[in-house]
């Protein structure tokens, strides 16, 4: 699952997955407050899980990629209604 999370974040940032490791800080990766929300959304979509609570409530406790991984582990993989397909 960790690799999946790292892959989702690397895809979002358009960077090589090697740049996204547990010690990397969100600030160091250039993740701003909107990116932060979007990345949590992407993780929910791609991993089919849902964080318990609003994304904003996690903002002060997440500083590194490792923190994000731990958050996903805490919240587990809950099944969700399948998301809609976005037209492009």
């Amino acid at each position: 699952m960790n690799n999946e999370i790292l892959g989702v974040i690397a895809d979002y940032l358009d960077v090589d997955v090697s740049a996204v490791h547990p010690e990397a800080t969100l600030e160091g990766l250039g993740i701003d407050s909107v990116d932060f929300l979007e990345i949590l959304f992407e993780i929910e979509e791609k991993l089919g899980m849902r964080f318990k609570g609003e994304y904003k409530s996690f903002q002060n406790e997440l500083h590194s990629i490792g923190d994000v991984i731990r958050l996903v582990e805490q919240h587990g993989q809950n099944s969700l209604p399948s998301p809609s397909v976005e037209h492009k």
């Binding site: 979002y12 940032l13 929300l37 979007e38 992407e42 929910e44 809609s84 037209h87 492009k88």
Partner: protein, 419 residues
């Protein structure tokens, strides 16, 4: 041909063109297919249209829109933004702008008619199913999102806005940009517009109105402007962008000039939200001629609004008679919606590109599927193949629901400026 400008006014020229449509993903491909009489109208691919009276459309396919943007932008932008970016990238490159320096002077004025309908429809579906919305959904839904996206992309800091006047949206945007440049208030502007193919529900709304062609069996022949027995238009999608600048600025950097944007005429008309009027059409064209300082007999080519509805084509013909008098019979008229579909808010810009290319090549695009003209439509609509013409000035009409009428007028550039 010289526009009669006041001493303190600037001449407005077109120095870059970009376009994405169902008949081409860039200017050269669009031009080739337009003059060859190709059509992009097919059976609808983006959703199952079998519940609908009309099952055809002019969708853009075969372009990798993801390749233009970052992954984050691709998932955050609505399709209409991506189409606009593709067209605008072509236009800015075509004009050889140096955006790191030019950005501070660059205005972005666009039009859209339908807006990001897929973003709205996806969101409704998600909310109803209890799913969370993407945090940036509101940015995707904003009607101003195409201009915002281009400003961020090009660091454009002069001024930006988006006009929403149904099928006249991008014609209004181009006219407004021209006014700014002409009056000296702006020197450089990216002007145009975009619309993506409607979402399922929005398409259902258009279908409910019964003004789209129901001739589903032969999509390429569904739209027949000015012909007897015509049955309406088919919706298309696309985006087009013009780089407009003062002639002074273009000359100072040795830019290639495609055409002069000589003038714009517009008006609003209120008898009906849906029914056009000859008066509105005549007023827009007449004001455009005055604004450009052109006389009716100096116009050789018309890109008609030409929706292939019974009412538009009859009234537009009458309006052309009224504005041009005996000269109306000398006009080489083209109705290009049978080629690229009715691109809604993008139509004014898409057809402005068609008009500029017609002047540049001395060739009127064919009006497709016109075998037997409606007796009420008694002008020369370029049936059959593209027709050579010796024409130095042209007019492009956009008449929209809600009584929005816009006519854009272009002068051919001297041949030396096209190289």
């Amino acid at each position: 041909m010289e526009t009669r400008l006041k001493p303190d006014e600037q001449k407005v020229v077109v120095t870059g063109i970009g376009i994405v449509s169902a008949i081409g993903h860039h200017r050269e491909e669009f031009s080739r297919n337009l003059f060859a009489g190709k059509t992009g109208i097919r059976k609808i691919q983006s959703f199952d249209a079998t519940p609908f009276r009309t099952q055809t459309g002019a969708e853009v396919s075969g372009i990798d829109l993801a390749s233009y943007v970052t992954h984050a932008e691709f998932i955050q932008f609505d399709r209409l933004c991506l189409l606009m970016i593709a067209a605008a990238d072509e236009a800015t490159a075509d004009a050889a702008l140096h955006l790191e320096q030019d950005g501070k002077d660059l205005g972005v004025i666009l039009g859209t008619g339908l807006g990001p309908s897929s973003a709205i429809e996806d969101s409704v579906r998600r909310v109803r199913s209890g799913a969370r919305l993407r945090p940036t959904t509101i940015l995707r839904m904003m009607l101003s999102s195409p201009a915002a996206a281009l400003c961020a992309r090009y660091q454009a800091r002069r001024e930006s806005h988006v006009h929403v006047t149904a099928c006249a949206s991008s014609a209004h945007a181009i006219g407004q940009a021209a006014d700014y440049i002409r009056s000296g208030g702006m020197d450089l502007c990216l002007a145009g517009g975009c619309d993506a193919f409607p979402s399922f529900t929005l398409f259902a709304a258009w279908d409910a109105m019964g003004i789209m062609s129901p001739d589903n069996e032969q999509p390429s022949q569904a739209v027949r402007p000015f012909s007897a027995g015509r049955t309406g238009f088919v919706i298309g999608e696309g985006a087009a962008a013009l780089v407009l600048e003062s002639e002074k600025r273009a000359n100072s950097r040795g830019a290639r000039i495609y055409a002069e944007l000589a003038g714009c005429g517009s008006c609003s008309d209120t008898p009906s939200l849906t029914k056009p009027s000859v008066e509105g059409m005549v007023t827009a064209m007449s004001r455009g001629l005055r604004n450009a300082g052109l006389t009716p007999d100096e116009i050789g080519h018309v890109n008609a609004h030409g929706t292939a509805t019974q009412i538009n084509d009859n009234l537009e013909t009458r309006a052309l008679h009224q504005v041009f008098g005996d000269h109306a019979r000398d006009l080489q008229i083209s109705a290009t919606k049978a080629s690229h579909g009715h691109t809604m808010g993008a139509a004014g810009a898409v057809e402005a590109v068609a008009t500029i290319l017609a002047l540049q090549h001395g060739l009127a695009p064919p009006t497709l599927n016109l075998r037997e003209a409606d007796p009420e439509c008694d002008l020369n609509y370029t049936a059959g193949d593209a027709r050579e013409m010796n024409c130095s000035a042209a007019i492009s009409n956009s008449f929209a629901f809600g009584g929005h009428y816009v006519s854009l007028l272009f002068n051919r550039a001297p041949a030396a400026r096209l190289t």
